[in-house]
Every structure is written in C-alpha cells, then in structure tokens.
C-alpha cells in the first residue's frame, strides 16, 4: 500500500460522479485525450451500418430509424448512421473534426470486462502495473516540475499509471455508484429480510425510482459527472502551462438488458461531455486529438432481454482539430459472416489508432511507441488519421 500511496501523490486525477479524469504533462503544444468507455459500448448501436443488407434483420428492435425520418439516425455519408443521441458529435463529423473507425478491436479476444480493460489500458497481453499512455510519456525528456499534472481525483486509471509522475487529489464524497450497479445490488439484497427492504427504501429516498434503476429515466444528479469533468479537463488542458495529456473514463455501457433507453442516456452524456471538452479546450482544440475507445464490442444479435452481450468488433472515435475527420474509416467486414458466429469481425487493431496519435500527433520517438505497446511490431500506425 505504501507504493500505491506514493504513486498517488504523484498522480493527478479529477473525479465527479462515475466519471474520472487523470492528467499528465508532456512537452510540446499537442494535446492528447483518451476517453475510456468502461463496460463495452455497442458499436453497432452507436454507428449503425444501415445500408448493410443483413443489418435490419440481425438487429431487430435495436436498429434505428432511417436517416431523415423523425428520430432517425444521423447520416454519416450514405452507409452508416450515427445514433440520434449524439448530435454534437455529428456536428463535429460534418465539420471534419471526427473520424469514426469501425470494426475495431484490441489485441485480445477475452470477453471478460476485467481482462479486456486491463489489456486495453496496459497495452500488453497481460496485466502490467503501468499503462501504455504513461509508458509512452516516460520516454519523453524530463520537463522538470512543470511535468506534474494537476491533482484531482479518487483514483487514476491503469492507462495513466506508471513511472511518469502526475499529481492526485480526491474531492471527498463526490463519487457515486453506477446506476446499473445499484440495480444489481438491489436484486442481490431482495431476498434478505432485514437488508432488502432497507436497501430498497434507501435507494428510493435518494431518487432512484424503478424507472431510473431500469435505465429509463435519468438518475438524481449523477449523470452530469462526465460532462462537468470533461469541461474541466478541457479548460485545464487549454492552459499554456497545463497538462498536455488526459485520460477520462465513463461507465454505463454494459447494456445486457433494455439497451434502447439505457444506451440513449449514456450516449447523450458522452456526446454532451465530448462537446464540453471541445468548448473547454477553446483554441487548443485545433492541436488536440481525442481517442474514444472501449474494451470490446457487443453481440450482433439481440439477446432475450432486449440487450446485447459481450462481443468482439466495435467502434472507436478520433476527434479534435488535429484529426482528419469527416469519414468512416476501417475495413467494413460486413455482417454476412460473424466472428464466432456472434460478433462483428474485427478488421482494425486499436493499437494502430493509438500509435498514430503517439507517433504522429505527440511526435514521440519510435522507441517510446514500442515501449507503450510491447510485442506489437507487426501493427503499424494507422495512416491518414491526422491533418497534414
């Protein structure tokens, strides 16, 4: 625990609600933000291949309305449509600041959240005590005291843990449990004669109605954590002497049941948060690249509870003024054949996106990029990601 404490003293993280952000400082003017979507975003719901002939049949109830219809998908150029809960991201896309990469997956095939998030953050094929983003920065020359980030936050994601020092501060009593976890705990307590009624009454007293717990209504005030944090992160990154790298995270993506209402709520929060980040960055937006990634995609077919289960191929977003956006990239594998007869076939390695940002955007040396992703020699940086 001593090691952990001393590590935290040197790390910075900002925490509100279920979302967290951590900072590190790197020389140069380029800003890099990584947004982790914990719980596995359904890429086929966020970015829907509405023109794929198999899509409507496989997706059933979860397929959105055609672009142009009321409440329909937001068109991304004739083949794909963005979820209607993400109008701000759509505006970035139309402005050329958002690149969507479909059929992305990490270098693992585990469908365990724990394992996959570990790999997503460590950048390796096994659990490490440091994250790829921190290791990449550790290769940079020591910038002295200015290298320390601002310290706000209960904890720092593995992604940013490691040898490079970034500060940490935890605002007390400012974290709240994910609604989905609340809902599961309520179920676990139900049979307990003493704790069950008390737990249920406690949730009601805090404004968690049955509709909130089912994800069909917004929770009492803990939904804006990511939005507020994103705005704050943007402002801090914008400062001339502020940090240059940040990692944010947002949960709520594990939509095994009632996916339509649950996902719409959390996509809207992500959309608003990303826009708050853009606003907070101000002029620095044009020197910014943001990677939005999740641990894996979800099953193509709908399960028995109007949700989707853990899958493989999914979607990633690259945003910012430094990104050559306005298109959907990656090789679309189609839906006629599925990975293990259930998941979207992955065609792009997530590390290719990260490498493009570390090498091309942050201009880290090849050795640093290699250190970030050990054993990834065969994976090159994705081309055409950055503006010239």
């Amino acid at each position: 625990m001593i090691a952990r404490r001393s590590l935290l003293l040197g790390l910075s993280a900002l925490s509100m609600g279920g979302a967290r952000v951590a900072f590190a400082q790197a020389p140069g003017e380029a800003r890099l933000v990584v947004v982790l979507l914990r719980g596995a975003l359904d890429g086929l719901a966020a970015v829907q291949p509405y023109a794929d002939p198999a899509f409507a049949g496989l997706r059933g109830l979860l397929a959105g309305g055609a672009p142009g219809t009321e409440g329909g998908l937001l068109d991304l150029g004739g083949r794909f449509g963005l979820h209607p809960a993400m109008p701000k991201l759509h505006a970035m896309y139309r402005g050329g600041d958002a690149l969507i990469v479909h059929a992305v997956a990490g270098h693992w095939r585990s469908r365990s959240h724990f394992d996959a998030q570990d790999f997503l953050e460590s950048g390796a094929g096994q659990r490490l005590n440091s994250g790829w983003l921190n290791r990449a920065l550790s290769a940079m020359p020591d910038a002295g005291p200015a290298r320390r980030g601002l310290a706000v936050g209960v904890d720092v994601p593995l992604l940013l843990r490691g040898p490079v020092r970034v500060g940490s501060y935890a605002p007390p009593g400012n974290s709240s449990v994910e609604t989905d976890t609340m809902s599961q705990l309520l179920a676990l307590h139900r049979a307990d004669p003493a704790l069950g009624p008390a737990f249920a009454e406690g949730l009601r007293a805090r404004g968690f109605s049955a509709a909130v717990l089912a994800g069909q209504a917004p929770g009492p005030g803990n939904r804006n954590g990511f939005v507020a944090l994103s705005g704050a992160a943007g402002r801090l990154l914008a400062a001339a002497d502020g940090p240059r790298v940040a990692a944010l995270e947002i949960g709520g993506w594990d939509t095994h049941a009632a996916q339509l209402p649950r996902l719409a709520a959390v996509l809207a929060e992500l959309d608003t948060g990303l826009d708050a980040l853009r606003e907070g960055l101000g002029d620095a937006w044009r020197r910014t690249a943001i990677l939005v990634a999740t641990e894996f995609g979800r099953t193509v077919r709908v399960n028995g509870t109007n949700g989707t289960d853990h899958g493989t191929g999914g979607v990633a977003f690259l945003l910012g003024g430094a990104i050559a956006g306005g298109r959907v990239a990656g090789d679309w594998p189609g839906l006629s054949e599925l990975f293990e007869n259930r998941d979207l076939v992955p065609t792009t390695d997530l590390r290719a996106l990260a490498k493009a940002l570390l090498g091309g955007h942050l201009r880290l040396p090849v050795t640093a990029v290699a250190q970030a992703f050990p054993g990834s020699e065969s994976v090159g940086a994705m081309r055409g990601v950055l503006r010239g």
Partner: protein
C-alpha cells in the same frame, strides 16, 4: 475449503483477506486466541488524569484531553487493522461495549483509551467478577456514571454539606452490567448498592497527597451495613467489593450475560437452549470468560450458515479495510468511516452501549452510506485488488452464486469491488 474456516474468521474474527486467509483448523485457531491480550501501549492513568485536572488556559488553542483521545483512537485503529488475534480483539470490543463509557460525557475524553487498555483488556480472559471490579473502580466509569461525586447522606461529608447519593452507577451496574433489567431487583436494591458504593471515588494525585486513580473516601462513605437483594454487606470499601463479587456470581447475571454473548456470537434471537448452556458454563466455571468462550466455540449453533448477524458499522468498516490490505495506513479511514456510518469510536449514545441486532443498524440511510463508502474504497482498491479473487478470499463458500455472477459480469474492476463490498453477504457475520 469448508465454510467453518470462513465462519471462524468472519463471525468470530474481523474477516479475511488475501494476506490473512481463513484458518486451516478453525476451532484451534479460535481457542488459541483465548489467552491474555498483550498490553496496549499508551499514556498512564496518572498522565491522563493529570491532563484532565489541568485547568485549560482559555487563550491557548492547546487541547490536551482531545490530543490524548485522538492518539488513543489512532492506536486502537492501527491495532484493529493489524491484529493477528481478531477474536481476542472482538472480545475486548464486546466487553468494552458491555461496560460502556462514552465521550458523550465530555469530561472523560482523556480517559476513554486508558479505560479500555487498563480496565477492559487485561480482564477479558479472566473471571467476570474481576472485570466487574476493575471497571467499577476505574476513574473512567466512576466519572462517567457520576459515582465519584456520590455522597452518603449520613457520612461526614454528607452531614456537613447536605449533599447526597447519586444512584446512576448503582442502577446501571444492576440493570446493565450484572443482573439485567428483569433481574429481580427493586428500587430499594438500587439505593442499597448506591450507598454501598459511596466513597468509591477518584484520587487527585500526589499534589493532594492522594492516589492517582481509584480512591476510597471514608468521609463520603455511608456508615453501617446495607442490605442488597436480602443479603447484608458491611460498611467500608470491602462491602462494595463483596457486593460486586456477589452480583457477578448471581444466576440472573449469568443469564443476562449468556443472552448478550449468544446474541453477539450466534444470532439476534438466539435459541434458548444456547443461552442456557452459556449461562451454565458461566455458573460451572465461576464466570471464567475464556472457558465460557471455549464452550460457545464448541456449540453447533455458533457455526450455522448462512451468516445471520449483521456487522455493526465498525465491524463492517474493519472487514472492508482489512480485506483491501491497507494495514496501519487505514487507521484514519477506519475512524472516519465508522463515524460516517453512525458508530464513532467510544461514543455510544447511552450507558447501554451500541445495539447489537440487524434491526438496529439496517436502516435505509445506513445502507446507502455503506454503499457510498464501499464505492470510495473500491475506487482506491481497484488498482491492487481483483474483485473475483477477493470475493473468493473473503467469503469463500459463503459467497452466493448470484453475487459471484454479478461480480464476474461487472462492467469495471471498481464496479466488481462495489458489488462485493456492498453485497448482502459482506454485511453479515
């Protein structure tokens, strides 16, 4: 792995952790702890009383009684987080709660720690009458329940000053410490015991040529023999000692203690047969507390699963922190969270101590606060603790399948830990 190993560690101990796995031989592990606890270091009674007596300079920000209380609490917390004899510490807590003194009486805060260290801990493996005597003679108790100022109306001081009895301590000894509320005593017995205990007071130290600690003051002692529960006790300090020894061995006391022990270690509503056997053990061993605990450990009722007792807030916080492996560094968190969960250390609302049943603690707000705190801890621990392996280590066969499934499917490491630490199983002992 049998459930007995985890039951031993959870029901009788402070939970398990990867660093403190459940015992291989549960019964032997428990009975091996039934030996005197090592002394707990801290300031002497003399020092604590001197701090208490010293007049505070109103201009000074120094608050030495509060400093002592804080240091004692930190030392207690570090001990509880690292002890290798969790049953023995649990027993110290149990008897400390049975003989509650509380910081709600502000005048004794400098004595809270030394009382636990000197009046409770050395006696929890001995005979009940010895702990009853130690507690009743301790300045912490004599001041908390006002006996230090109780004056026999016919004593020299009483006749001169026109002051009299304070029945507070005598009543609580009968009602809470010994016979129990239905123990068959009357108001006359309360008055008799109060008169017997007149003169049991606190000395002012060398400055006044008095002992620093217990002092029998003949000038305030009610003269003559007194009759308590039909039995005569002589005048003088010895009358009080005899009365307490008599009360300690009384069958009503054995029944009362048996009920509390059974409620603490077996169930909120323990089987009557279990209570009877504990009372019998107390009677047969002349109140030998370690021997009685050996009988409790041998009782099949003490090993029933699933666990039915609710961890009181302090026990819950301890179990969580010990499970996350913070060690001594968790002391501030232990004290802070216990207070946040409505059980601040040594601050029981009344002389009857903290309640000991699920109905008392399982309120909606309590459950929500536990959840909030578990979430905070999970955020800190997610880097070093995997929820799946921690669930196995802490609950083993007591982990329900549905909880294991929820943890396995959790959307993040932190959510997994929240599901474990806020699960119904984790609240139980």
């Amino acid at each position: 792995m049998t459930p007995r190993a985890h039951i031993a560690a959870i029901r009788f101990g402070l939970g398990t952790a990867p660093e403190a796995p459940p015992p291989d031989t549960p019964e032997a592990w428990l009975t091996g702890q039934l030996r005197p606890l090592p002394a707990a270091p801290g300031p002497s009674l003399d020092e604590c009383l001197a701090v208490l007596r010293a007049r505070r300079d109103p201009a000074s920000t120094e608050n030495r009684p509060a400093d002592i209380a804080r240091a004692e609490a930190q030392a207690w917390a570090r001990r509880m987080l690292t002890t290798q004899a969790p049953l023995a510490e649990r027993l110290a807590e149990f008897w400390g709660n049975h003989f509650t003194i509380s910081r709600r009486r502000g005048n004794i805060i400098a004595l809270l720690g030394v009382y636990q260290r000197e009046a409770i801990r050395p006696h929890i493996m001995g005979r009940f009458e010895e702990i009853l005597l130690a507690v009743t003679r301790h300045p912490g108790m004599l001041m908390y329940l006002d006996n230090a100022n109780s004056i026999g109306p016919n004593s020299m001081a009483g006749l001169r000053q026109g002051r009299g009895l304070n029945e507070n301590l005598a009543r609580e000894i009968l009602e809470l410490h010994t016979l129990g509320v239905n123990g068959g005593y009357t108001q006359d017995d309360v008055g008799a015991l109060a008169r017997i205990l007149t003169g049991w007071s606190v000395g002012r130290g060398a400055e006044f040529n008095e002992p620093a600690g217990f002092m029998f003051r003949p000038r305030t002692h009610e003269p003559g023999a007194k009759t308590l529960l039909g039995r005569s006790f002589p005048e003088g300090e010895e009358g009080g000692v005899q009365a307490l020894r008599f009360l300690a061995q009384h069958p009503a006391t054995q029944r009362h203690l048996a009920g509390k022990i059974a409620r603490h270690f077996i169930a909120d509503a323990p089987p009557p047969a279990a209570k009877q056997r504990i009372a019998q053990a107390l009677a047969e061993t002349q109140g030998d507390l370690a021997a009685t605990m050996r009988r409790v450990i041998a009782m099949p009722e003490a090993w029933s699963a699933p666990l039915s007792k609710l961890r009181a807030p302090q026990d819950y916080v301890l179990a969580v922190l010990r499970a996350t492996g913070v060690g001594e560094a968790g002391a501030p968190a232990l004290l802070g969270a216990s207070a946040q969960l409505a059980q601040p250390l040594w601050t029981a609302p009344a002389p009857n101590g903290w309640p000991d049943t699920a109905a008392d603690w399982a309120t909606p707000e309590q459950m929500m606060r536990r959840l909030d705190w578990a979430n905070t801890i999970a955020g800190r621990a997610a880097a070093t603790r995997d929820a799946r392996s921690l669930a196995e280590a802490t609950l083993g066969p007591l982990l329900r399948a549905e909880t294991a499934t929820a943890i396995r499917r959790a959307a993040s490491p932190r959510d997994g830990l929240v599901l474990l630490l806020a699960s119904p199983e984790f609240h139980r002992r």
